[in-house]
Amino acid sequence: MRMQEILILKIVVRFVIPFIQVYGFYVITAGHLSPGGGFAGGTIVAASMVLYALTFDASQGLEKLSHERASLFESLGAIWYVALGFLGILVGGNFLTNGQIGIPLGTPGYLISGGLIPLLSFGIGIKVAVTVVSLYYSLVEED
């Protein structure tokens, strides 16, 4: 039986993927409060996209995230991190200065806290997710 004919798998995967992605984004956003963070959450988001490509087809997955779009998102994640780091230098501090750049620090233990760190882990999450997905595509693609 070929992969394209399994109906149950397709419907279940279509139903499960949003939940995996919501959990991945939760792990990214709550990275400064609980275990996890940008890297683990990004990997979970990437796992959902790889699940899509495994169930349907690699070419159908490539339509959702082509190589050009993947490299664009990858670069955007890195640039986001470095730009947030350079904000500290603009106000006269070190690279990745947290307190003095105007982002509210919030109360410890709540979601809006830590200043720069949730924004940084958001950038890390996007970069890691796209990198893992393109790793899978470049391994599975016919050359």
Binding site: S34, F39, P108, G109, L139
Partner: protein, 125 residues
Amino acid sequence: MAEALAALGQNYFFYYALILFMVGFYTTLSHSNILKKIIGINIMETSIFLFFVALGYVEGGQAPIMGRGAEGGPYMNPLPSALILTGIVVSVSITAFALALMVKLYHFYGTLDADEIVMLRGERQ
């Protein structure tokens, strides 16, 4: 003597890390299939991570997370965890790179057996 034996018995994580390292090392040396070699390298890596994280274990401690309330008490040592997090990332990168090289080898030689690849290389020269 009895105290020394009791102290040795408490550190059972280290023995299991040693056993796992030996299993991985044996696999890497003795199996000729390249995917089996990669799995062996992964087992060796996880055994070393287990050794490091077990070094930071504190008897009766809790995970070092600052929550709302519920502070105090002994914590586990967070430094080995932070180091091993980087180690896991490096291990996955090494695995991905090795697998890509393995696909290239299969296209070039048509086999995944390391001994056969060595023989084929000998014939070509």
